[in-house]
């Protein structure tokens, strides 16, 4: 297995302030213990409804947010990973483990090491109308990473920016313009150009097609695919649009209330969903075919608050198959078929 | 089937600082009795503006420049909505034609309770029925009452009788402001509340007795949208306009709302004009579809035909843009045009793979090329009809 990114037991809590003295009275458990890996060159899709923590997860993985707990390993040799796992099992307080984590675990990075990391991992946001500085020219927006890292000098910046813009389907005439002069799709292309100009290895795509029109979605999707091929990119593709995720991802993970409930290769998952939530989610998507009549599973109620998630399996209050154990114990994420993991007591070995 | 609503040659423009936005240029649309007509289109296609025009609600700086909206009233006669005076318009809005919006949170006034806001619809449109109910109640009580209580009751009765005769009555307005006397309204309030609770129950909301007294911000997005739907359906309107009502909601909640709309449609027998950008929703819900692009309607057809045999190149492009397993993705090139300076002729021609010379010169007319299947494209012009 050649994993580029390995995430272990990642948690990200946001404090909730309240009361007379604005003290912390609780935490929004946006990401609550997620472990997964992303293979080099693959696209991992991550789906879930708003508030499930998928965006927080993406931002924490590339360290735009500081994790509350857990480790993130990026491009670490397999033998080192093995060593770390071995040490973790044996003695979590081993000084060697601490040294290795300091060396390799992104969760411990700070300052200049973090900054160096930025060259290798990038992000594209959902809404290009807020992710581009409205007071900067396109050339400056796209060229900023080059300037920050002082990689090339003046004239060459323009050349590199132009080359990158052309790569994403824009041209020289767009260099000296403000973002508001562009359509949504073009803006997203500018944002993509900014993300790829440093030639990163890993890009988090945070709902990059949600804010654009149907006809533009397809254009962007094609662009993402061709960029991935040309630049050997690895993607974490976050979205709530299942058909988009289906068409671009190699594997897909499903999140619910800060937890990963199911993860499987795309084909497998779209053919057969094991987790009741995944099943309901997939059945809720309207299919653009008037003759495709299908059974729809309507979930009861709303997603509970991530401040006080339900006990046991977080899905149990809405689950049509809930059993006693679901209320009491959290199901482990286990592989039930080859490459298909699910966290549900219906499938878990008890 | 008869048309219940006809939009004819509608032209709407917005006078902004950037220039005149030609949002809608000559839209023709028919909504039939009992059907669900979907309008699909991208940003700036004019689908929402069309919806607002039907209720004469286009906000400034927008202006309806031309065209008419005809609504077939209960007596079978067509009423020109855009020509109506303020009072007549108010009788149509919310009673005959209702609208629900994309952002339920923004559509509710944050300072009034759910009960207040839903109840308003009853007070505006069904005051007479409410008064009659209250009068019945008073009369039964009067039979048993004696002395002072009877006097109070008969005083209240006189007020309600007056309200029944003339809801605008100055006496009533005055009495509603005077302390103590004002209490006569409590009966009306109670009656409204009863109706609101019933309605909320119809919307399948849990615990409606509690929700009536809640403020909008205390509800989730899905619940808020149910409240908005409740307001729209309070008077059992002939037409419901739904302007992307599920776009801001999560998919599982969207599924609940779509399900609700589908079932209410069966119960209330309203016609629905459903606006969306989601082909999936169209496929699930609609009988017919109108495809809009940059202020024009390019195709109108029964839903199956739109998906099986789309005629307009834009409709085809739209369908090919939807990622489907085992199907090649063929996006439409270019971007949606700026409506201050829209392309000449057919507004789609700069992006159209089949564009001809004539496309940049003349605007294609919407015509029926097959039974019940209308399209506006020069590809389907009959020879000799080119102008």
């Amino acid at each position: 297995m050649n994993a580029l990114v390995i995430v272990k037991n990642l948690k990200k809590y946001f404090p909730v302030k309240g009361g007379v003295f604005r003290t912390t009275i609780g935490y929004v458990k946006a990401v609550d213990g997620i472990s997964l890996y992303i293979r080099r060159g693959e696209c991992l899709g991550l789906v879930g409804e708003s508030g499930c923590g998928k965006t927080t997860f993406g931002k924490t993985v590339i360290r735009l947010l500081k994790p509350t707990e857990g480790s993130i390993y990026f491009d670490v040799p397999p033998d080192v990973i093995e060593r770390i796992e071995e040490l973790e099992k044996r003695n979590p307080k081993d000084p060697e483990l601490e040294r290795l984590r300091k060396e390799y675990d992104l969760a411990t990075y700070k300052g200049s090491r973090l900054k160096r990391l930025r060259r290798r991992m990038q992000i594209v946001y959902q809404d290009p109308s807020t992710s581009l500085n409205p007071r900067m020219l396109v050339k400056d927006i796209v060229g900023e990473p080059l300037k920050v890292f002082k990689l090339v000098d003046g004239n060459e910046v323009t050349e590199r920016v132009l080359a990158t813009l052309e790569r994403v389907g824009l041209s020289e005439q767009h260099l000296y313009r403000y973002p508001h002069e562009f359509s949504g799709g073009q803006r997203q292309r500018i944002a993509i150009a900014r993300a790829i100009i440093l030639q990163p290895e890993f890009i988090v795509l945070d709902e990059p097609t949600s804010a654009v029109d149907v006809s533009v979605k397809a254009q962007l999707l094609k662009l993402f695919k061709s960029l991935q091929e040309d630049m050997k990119l690895t993607y974490l593709f976050i979205s709530h649009e299942l058909n988009i995720v289906e068409s671009i991802s190699d594997r897909v993970g499903v999140m619910y209330l800060g937890r990963l409930v199911e993860l499987a290769p795309t084909r497998t998952l779209f053919k057969k969903q094991l987790h009741p939530y995944t099943e309901a989610l997939f059945s809720a998507i309207p299919i653009p075919d008037p003759d495709a009549k299908k059974k729809r599973i309507l979930l009861r109620g709303n997603v509970p608050s991530p401040v006080n998630p339900p006990s046991g399996c977080r899905f149990h209050p809405r689950c049509p198959y809930a059993m006693d154990i679901c209320r009491e114990k959290e199901p482990p994420l286990e592989e039930v078929e080859s490459g298909h993991t699910v966290a549900c007591w219906l499938y878990a070995k008890r | 089937m008869d048309n219940i609503l006809e939009v004819r040659d509608l032209v709407v423009r917005f006078y902004t600082y950037e220039g005149i936005v030609k949002a809608i240029e000559g839209v023709n649309l028919q909504l039939r009795e009992g059907e669900v007509l979907g309008i699909i289109g991208e940003t700036g296609s004019g689908k929402s503006v069309t919806a607002l025009s039907i209720l004469s609600l286009v906000p400034p700086p927008g202006r309806v420049e031309k065209g008419s909206v005809l609504f077939r009233g209960r007596d079978g006669k067509f009423i020109p909505i855009l020509k109506l005076g303020r009072k007549e318009l108010q009788k149509i809005r919310g009673r005959e034609i209702s609208i629900i919006f994309q952002e339920p949170r923004a559509a509710l006034n944050p300072l009034y309770t759910i009960g207040d806001q839903v109840g308003e619809v009853f007070l505006v449109h069904r005051l007479k029925e409410l008064c009659k109910d209250v009068l019945d109640e008073i009369n039964t009580e009067l039979e048993k009452a004696q002395g002072f209580k009877a006097k109070v009751l008969s005083f209240e009765r006189s007020l309600y009788e007056r309200m029944l005769r003339n809801p605008e009555s100055k006496v009533i307005k005055l009495a509603s402001k005077v302390p103590i006397v004002r209490r006569f309204r409590n009966r009306l309030k109670k009656a409204v509340r009863k109706h609101v609770i019933e309605l909320l129950r119809l919307m399948e909301m849990p615990d409606p007795e509690r929700i009536v007294d809640m403020y909008p911000h205390e509800l989730s997005g899905g619940m808020q949208q149910r409240v908005v739907i409740a307001m729209a359906l309070a008077c059992n309107p002939k037409i419901l306009i739904a302007d992307e009502p599920t776009t801001s909601l999560d998919v599982t909640v969207q599924a609940q709302i779509l399900d609700l709309i589908r079932r209410l449609k069966g119960k209330l027998r309203s016609s629905i004009l459903y606006i969306t950008h989601d082909m999936g929703v169209i496929a699930e819900l609609c009988d017919r579809v109108a495809v809009m692009y940059a202020g024009y309607i390019c195709e109108v057809a029964p839903v199956r035909e739109v998906f099986r045999e789309p005629l307009h190149p834009y409709t085809r492009g739209l369908l090919d843009s939807i990622p489907m397993p085992g199907k090649e993705l063929k996006p439409i090139r270019g971007t949606v045009p700026n409506l201050v300076n829209p392309p000449s002729g057919c507004r789609f021609h700069p992006r159209c793979p089949y564009a001809m010379d004539i496309c940049s010169k003349s605007v294609p007319k919407l015509r029926e090329v097959k039974k019940d299947h209308l399209v506006a494209c020069h590809l389907y012009d009959k020879d000799g009809e080119r102008s």
Partner: protein, 312 residues
């Protein structure tokens, strides 16, 4: 060759900025009130610049800001051919005072506004961007100053520092910056939550770069509008203090001070109730139109900049 390449790049680079400016100008031009505002301010700017030509000080006059006087009797003289605005109490030349007073007004208005805007900009940005303890301390400080009605605190400060024009300006600055800091902080918080700021951090920008390249340019417009609207208010406050006798010394070319001199002459002689009208009407009109000019401009600027922000 290289030179021309550079200049064309510069041209291209400036093009969008110029387009924006042209847009603002064309919007300003549409509004007659803003044209009036600009005209009034330009008029006063010319007046202030040409003061030594329009109202030359007498030869060997030590301080041109001190108004020359023609005698010492208290009763004001009406306008005549030589002294076209007449004299006010103590025979000070009203015309001279009004012309040179324009300089004083500009000095007070611009100095104070520039200072408070700058202080507010820096403190507001730092407070909003870093948050935490720095924010808490700075904001409590603004709370304290803002818990006084502005003019009254300035009055107390002026009394403590010793009444003079300089202390009036110092007082106005000390009391004025917190509202700017508050406004800027709010804007910074709003801008900070937008994705492009995080995107800037994601490409490795330093805090300094994030604040000054990304946040401040997007947060500064409301501050500019507030500043342009504030110039008039500040000139009014300074004039009020001078009127109360806490600002410019007697005889100084300051409009508020001139009105203060007219206080004993508001009611004329019996039968001629408006005999000394020129002593208060003329300097009053100067203050009023000056302030009106700035307020018109500020008002128009706000209207122009507002839809521009919404346009994005």
């Amino acid at each position: 060759m290289l030179q021309t390449a550079k200049s064309t790049t510069l041209k291209k680079r400036l093009e969008p900025t110029l387009r924006e400016l042209r847009f603002i100008l064309s919007r300003l031009k549409e509004n007659p009130l803003s044209i009036a505002g600009i005209a009034i301010i330009s008029f006063y700017a010319v007046l202030a610049a040409l003061a030594p030509v329009i109202a030359p000080p007498p030869p060997k006059w030590r301080d041109p800001y001190m108004i020359p006087r023609y005698g010492f009797i208290p009763e004001p003289k009406p306008p005549n051919e030589k002294l076209i605005f007449g004299t006010t109490e103590g025979q000070y030349d009203l015309f001279y005072g009004c012309i040179w007073g324009a300089r004083t007004a500009f000095r007070i208005g611009l100095m104070v506004v520039l200072s408070v805007a700058l202080i507010g900009l820096v403190i507001g940005s730092v407070s909003g961007y870093y948050g935490g303890l720095v924010d808490e301390v700075l904001m409590r400080l603004t709370d304290i100053i803002l818990s006084f009605p502005g003019l009254i605190l300035v009055m107390a400060l002026v009394v403590a520092l010793g009444p003079s024009l300089d202390t009036v300006m110092t007082g106005l600055i000390l009391v004025g910056w917190p509202s700017y800091a508050r406004l800027m902080r709010g804007e910074v918080l709003r801008v900070k939550s937008q994705d492009f700021v995080e995107a800037a951090k994601a490409v490795g920008c330093s805090d300094f770069r994030v604040i000054f390249r990304h946040i401040v340019p997007n947060a500064i417009y409301p501050l500019l509008v507030m500043a342009s609207l504030d110039i008039g208010t500040i000139v009014l406050s300074a004039a009020a203090l001078s009127f109360l006798g806490l600002g410019a010394p007697v005889g100084y070319a300051d409009w508020g001070q001139l009105i203060s001199l007219s206080r004993n002459w508001i009611i004329g002689t019996p039968g001629q109730p408006l005999k000394y009208w020129h002593t208060f009407i003329i300097p009053g009109l100067f203050i009023f139109t000056f302030v009106l000019g700035w307020n018109l401009l500020g008002d128009a600027l706000r209207d122009v900049l507002d839809p521009m922000m919404r346009r994005r």
